[in-house]
């Protein structure tokens, strides 16, 4: 399966929407059945293509949120205001609709179960999605690799997977940037050196995966190298402009 997921030319598949799940007021998960899906690795994405009646096409990349599970693929999509593709996926697409997708894409920003190294996950907003696939894959595989998730998100209402994250056996640090729940000790603000968890210091040689809007990922990668992490152990994925209100 893993071999099939990284070898061979990519082609377009047509998936059928089996379910949709609201994750926040701005994001939802689309559950697809994709006949012929070769399986995927945690961290991979798909390219989604929409075609208008006049033939105009628009294409965007979306991370896979689910662990490999046969021909089932879950995408979590956050609304980009004034976006061309995400408003359709978040607000219009319905169960039973068809969706064109190409994938699974990527062999760099992936985590493979069986890797024993500690893993530090750094998510900005919906950059959590591919990291969620890693967390779900870790849980499903019974991996004992130590993980820690740093999740920068603007406010509690925008936090994805709030019910599931506490069940995955991995410590989660929420870094709220605009509004915090009452009683939070950490002040509101962007990620800083103070947020880096003990146990994942550079001398432990953790693998680091950082994903989010381009500005967030640049800042996080700079912070981690400043803290002494080996740039070669930091894998990054940038998805361009931020979703939601900044």
């Amino acid at each position: 399966m893993a071999r099939a997921a990284v070898l061979g030319r990519l082609t377009w598949h047509v998936g059928t929407v089996r379910a949709v799940r609201a994750e926040t007021p701005w994001a939802r998960t689309i559950v697809l059945d994709v006949p012929g899906w070769p399986g995927h690795l945690a961290g991979q994405h798909v390219d989604v293509r929409l075609t208008a009646p006049d033939g105009y096409q628009a294409q965007r990349s979306y991370s896979i949120a689910s662990a490999a599970d046969g021909e089932r693929v879950e995408l979590t999509v956050e609304l980009v205001p004034d976006g061309e593709v995400s408003p359709y996926l978040v607000s219009v697409l319905e169960v039973g609709d068809l969706l064109e997708l190409r994938g699974p894409v990527g062999g760099w920003f992936v985590w493979r179960p069986g890797t024993p190294d500690p893993v530090l996950l750094v998510a900005g907003g919906s950059g959590l999605v591919p990291l969620m696939a890693m967390l779900r894959t870790r849980a499903a595989s019974g991996s004992a690799a130590p993980f820690h998730l740093l999740y920068s998100v603007r406010e509690p209402a925008a936090a994805l997977y709030a019910d599931e994250l506490p069940t995955l056996g991995v410590p989660v640090s929420y870094l709220f940037t605009r509004r915090t729940p009452p009683g939070t000790r950490r002040p509101i603000g962007r990620i800083s050196l103070l947020d880096l968890p003990a146990g994942f210091t550079p001398d432990r040689h953790p693998s680091v995966y950082a994903c989010g809007p381009t500005g967030f990922v640049e800042a996080a990668a700079d912070l981690l190298t400043t803290a002494g992490h080996d740039a070669q152990r930091i894998r990054t994925e940038r998805f361009g402009p931020t979703g939601g209100n900044p």
């Binding site: 990284v6 061979g8 030319r9 894409v105 990527g106 760099w108 920003f109 994925e237 940038r238």
Partner: protein, 89 residues
């Protein structure tokens, strides 16, 4: 100004052309000799074509233009590309 993506976003389009994953390939910039994974290139995908630039010196490494049934791929900014290939059994 357009916010760039990174080389992970090239994986789909180049994955239609090549049988190995290109995002984990190691590319050397023909301009400054910076060497690193394609995933870390700076990618502008909102133009009619896709452009990937060196994260170190900004030189254009990859230009890709697609039509429905053709691809034009300009790699002159890359001096060497190192790919993982499956080993026999």
């Amino acid at each position: 100004m357009t916010t760039p993506l990174d080389g992970n976003a090239l994986g789909g389009a180049l994955g239609e052309l090549f049988t190995v994953d290109i995002t984990a390939a190691i590319a050397r910039c023909a301009g400054c000799q910076h060497t690193g994974p394609v995933a870390e290139l700076v990618v502008y995908a909102s133009a009619p074509g896709t452009i990937a630039r060196c994260p170190s010196c900004d030189q254009v490494l990859v230009r890709l233009v697609r039509s429905p049934d053709r691809a034009w791929l300009d790699l002159r900014g890359v001096s060497v590309i190192e790919l993982a290939v499956p080993s026999p059994a």
